[in-house]
Symmetry: C2
Subunit: 217 residues, 2 copies
């Protein structure tokens, strides 16, 4: 099984607050996510600045496209994003136009699986040629106090993987949680506060990378 990548989610309210910790953490990060909030706070300037500072990293503009997919994805790719996100509830045509735009530039898109997605939808996305999904623990389960990752999540990830998707996993993952995923085909783990909010962001990244190596070899 391939070793999962590590993604840092920048969810600050302005760009300067993200840059300091990011600079410290970036060396061992694979993907830098310009979070929805940061995109809305700073606009494409944030994407442009981050790609300029870290040209060798994959930069995801987490704009959660629901409509106007062609325009928004173009804008993000023009600003330097490598990937953009589309919500699972987006208008069906959005998936196609964003995918076409991405592929025409050798870039990519991810579908964020929000409450209400179905296996039937997932099959349509796979048939369309969409290759990446973002899986988050169900809010309902979180609300029931089932705070940790469990077999139900792992089965979902496995099934998505079998359909051909590369699965990004998000939702408060900490280094100590990674070993729970042993044998589960995760493409990317996302960490946010656990790195950005750490006293020593570089050490926090190392803790993630050590846990990933230990679990996935």
């Amino acid at each position: 099984m391939e070793k999962p990548l590590l993604q840092i989610a920048l969810d600050t309210y302005d760009l300067p607050s993200a840059l300091g910790p990011l600079q410290k953490a970036a060396a061992h990060i694979d993907v830098i996510e310009v979070g929805t909030i940061l995109c809305l706070a700073e606009g494409m300037h944030a994407v442009r600045a981050i790609k300029s500072l870290f040209p060798d990293k994959i930069v995801l503009a987490d704009v959660r496209i629901a409509e106007a997919g062609s325009i928004i994805s173009k804008m993000c790719f023009d600003a330097g994003a490598d990937w953009v996100s589309v919500v699972s509830g987006a208008a069906p045509s959005s998936f196609e136009v964003v995918l076409a735009e991405a592929l025409s530039r050798s870039k990519d898109m991810q579908i964020e699986l929000s409450d209400g997605w179905t296996w039937e939808m997932a099959q349509r996305w796979a048939d369309m040629g969409i290759r990446q999904v973002i899986f988050k623990r169900s809010r309902d389960l979180e609300a029931q106090g089932k705070l940790n990752w469990g077999e139900r999540d792992f089965d979902t990830i496995r099934r998505l993987h079998e359909m051909g998707f590369k699965v990004t996993v998000t939702g408060g993952v900490k280094p100590k949680d990674i070993s729970l995923f042993a044998g589960v085909p995760v493409y990317i783990f996302i960490a946010g506060r656990a790195i950005l909010g750490a006293d020593d962001p570089a050490a926090a990244v190392q803790a993630f990378q050590a846990a990933i190596t230990e679990t996935y070899g």
Copy 2:
């Protein structure tokens, strides 16, 4: 029946492109919408600049909240927005937190009715105390070539109004379409390209206002 307001949707890719036409058009505009694309392009800087230039206008940040409603609505209101938009498919808790944030500041929120909304959902929103919805012609109907507004749309708007909602209407409305709405309780008409793209934006606004006055007296 109250005379509908006129809203201009700023959907440019950067702020400067919007400012020129807006300056010319603003005098007879009631609501200025900082569109989703402009919010993503320029961030909250666009909202801040527009509220600073037009402090007496209602400014809508059309951020289409789907998640993280508390953080995003705070950010928009802090930047000077009077209203924010939430998509109808948002997590149920989002409606409550955004409404609470809005009401605590004597501001407001609008729910954008996307494909898949139901009357049951609308009733829940009404029960929650939500007062504004944005109604757009169905994409399916548009796809079938039914390009103009018709009785089915008007019935929907009437029923939403009867439930207590103030209904904003959007989807390529032109001055010549306004008379079709005679007797239909519209709170706001949105115009975008029809004003921004006009050779004479002030004249375009006057054409809308004349049509509104003629139809609603």
